[in-house]
């Protein structure tokens, strides 16, 4: 029964995409699960050139890109893991703008091209740990979020940064179906946002971002649970008070504002001590701050991480 799918099967050899995209609805045999989706054409991403390597990259084995593009949490495009790979293709990612506003001296609207050229692009191979106890290793491409922050010159009032995902009810699930309030919102404390590990991500695996992975621009905060790394950003606002965040609104008891990866603080419904790295058979131990403790632990010195989960 418990057969591991050998990693490294070339994408051309696995089941055709439309077949396995369908399999949940097939198994479920229910109209509810059988949402229609755009035919999943093989992705031909745009190659990104001149990408610098980064000392922050891990040397761990990178997860096959096919897994990272077909195992997504993007509730606006389906609450199953395979649905976003199909449904998210409806999202129009160009033209695209990101509005930056709030407590800043230079509020402005950035075109996606301006963002792509804002700072030298780097490859950051990060561990990515989902709150649901699975993890992947992804070669993201982007630049430190603090580059954008410096450009807009936050004022003394800017204590937090609030992010917002695009919301298009015409192509997305309703709030009721998704079970979360939309648009999706996230937030960071200012010092977290300034941390060099936090990046604005515009690509992965050498190419621009696939839609289901948060195209055209997303956040990646590797020491926090995946849901903090908000996708398809259209608005960034600098604020004085801690902003509302989607999963915290949904269930404050289970998902805190900080949501740092922490093997010692369990989710109320499951232990966070271990995780399944996609492609591995058995669970592995989860690391404090997802293994980025050396870099980020000082951000939280003196804080009770049980209280501020």
């Amino acid at each position: 029964m418990l057969i591991r799918r050998s990693p490294g099967i070339p994408p051309s050899e696995v089941t055709p995409k439309h077949l396995y995209l369908n399999r949940r609805s097939f198994l479920a045999g229910l109209p509810l699960a059988g949402a229609a989706f755009a035919a999943g054409s093989a992705r031909a991403g745009t190659k990104l050139n001149g990408i610098a390597k980064s000392p922050f990259s891990t040397t761990e084995k990178v997860t096959p890109s096919n897994d990272v593009t077909h195992y997504n949490n993007y509730y606006e495009f389906g609450t199953g893991k395979e649905q976003p790979a199909g449904l998210a293709q409806k999202l129009k990612t160009s033209p695209w703008t990101v509005k930056v506003e709030g407590a800043v001296n230079k509020p402005q609207v950035f075109d996606i091209d301006a963002i792509m050229k804002m700072a030298p692009l780097e490859e950051r191979i990060y561990r990515h740990r989902c709150v649901e106890r699975w993890s992947i290793v992804v070669p993201w491409i982007g630049f430190p979020l603090n580059e954008l922050i410096k450009k807009v010159e936050p004022t003394a009032k800017a204590k937090f940064v609030a992010f917002q995902t695009v919301f298009d009810p015409g192509i997305m699930l309703s709030e009721r179906a998704a079970g979360i309030q939309l648009p999706y919102v996230e937030g960071l404390r200012m010092d977290e946002a300034m941390h060099p590990l936090a990046i604005l991500c515009v690509g992965m695996y050498g190419e621009d971002l696939p839609k289901q992975d948060g195209a055209p621009v997303r956040l990646v905060v590797p020491w926090k649970y995946g849901f903090k790394s908000i996708k398809s950003i259209v608005k960034i606002k600098f604020v004085e008070k801690q902003p509302p965040t989607t999963w915290n609104i949904t269930n404050a008891h289970e998902y805190g504002f900080y949501s740092n990866v922490n093997p010692e603080v369990d989710h109320p419904r499951w232990s966070q001590a271990s995780e399944r790295r996609l492609g591995e058979f058995f669970m592995r131990k989860t690391l404090m701050f997802n293994g980025y403790g050396d870099q980020v632990a000082q951000l939280y010195s003196g804080m009770d991480l049980r209280k501020y989960y």
């Binding site: 029964m1 418990l2 696995v14 399999r23 509810l32 195992y71 998704a178 419904r269 232990s271």
Partner: protein
């Protein structure tokens, strides 16, 4: 009546048996063909959990169907369907035991006690064990129809526990657990109504089942 003939045929029983094996065969096939997606263990856990719950619902619908459609022959399939529910439950439980916990009894105990959704699933599963053990005709005889029937009403608890288990484990999209909850509710409500009607006007002896045929679930 041809339908009744078909329902009584040996071959139909074999066919239903084969059909019940399809979900597990499909899983095996997919396992060998890279069809289990990026997280095969989760896929197996979910598929087997889904089929456990589905078989519980199917088993519970036999009695209402055979009464409402006046097809007493349907009862021939009930034991087999119930045992398939138990079979998929075992696969589901074993996936968790072996791959998630790798026989770490300390962790297992902690999970069962501390995680309400595991507590519910575990309760539901454990309650199925005596039912599977006593599913043979020999046990019906040994226990007597009445007591056997009482015992096998535990499947009501398992079905409810299964739904609660499902409801508690989803993160936000509760549509499917609610859907199964509604099915189980209807199936149990049917029994409640029947027993209320019966207790209102106690007919002379031969109501319910034909003598000797236990009718639990």
């Amino acid at each position: 009546m041809p339908l009744k003939r078909i329902l009584s045929s040996r071959w139909l029983k074999v066919a239903v048996f084969a059909l019940c094996l399809v979900p597990v065969l499909l899983l095996v096939w997919k396992a060998f063909n890279g069809g289990l997606g990026a997280n095969p263990i989760e896929f197996i856990t979910h598929a087997t959990g889904d089929w456990t719950l589905r078989f519980l619902c199917i088993t519970l619908s036999i009695t209402p169907l055979r009464k409402l459609l006046r097809l007493p022959e349907l009862v021939r399939f009930r034991r087999m369907l119930g045992l398939f529910g138990f079979f998929y439950g075992c696969l589901h439980f074993l996936t968790w035991l072996v791959v998630d916990k790798f026989f770490d009894w300390n962790e297992i105990l902690k999970d069962v006690v501390k995680r309400p959704y595991i507590t519910a699933g575990f309760t539901g599963f454990v309650l199925l064990i005596p039912l599977a053990v006593t599913s043979t005709t020999g046990w019906i005889r040994r226990m007597g129809g009445k007591r056997w029937q009482m015992l096998h009403r535990l499947i009501y608890v398992t079905a409810c526990a299964g739904v609660v288990h499902y409801y508690w484990l989803v993160k936000s999209d509760i549509r499917l657990p609610v859907f199964y909850g509604a099915i189980v509710a209807v199936l149990l409500a049917y029994r409640l109504v029947v027993s209320l009607v019966k207790s209102r006007k106690p007919l002379p002896r031969a109501t319910g089942a034909a003598a000797g045929e236990p009718t639990a679930s």
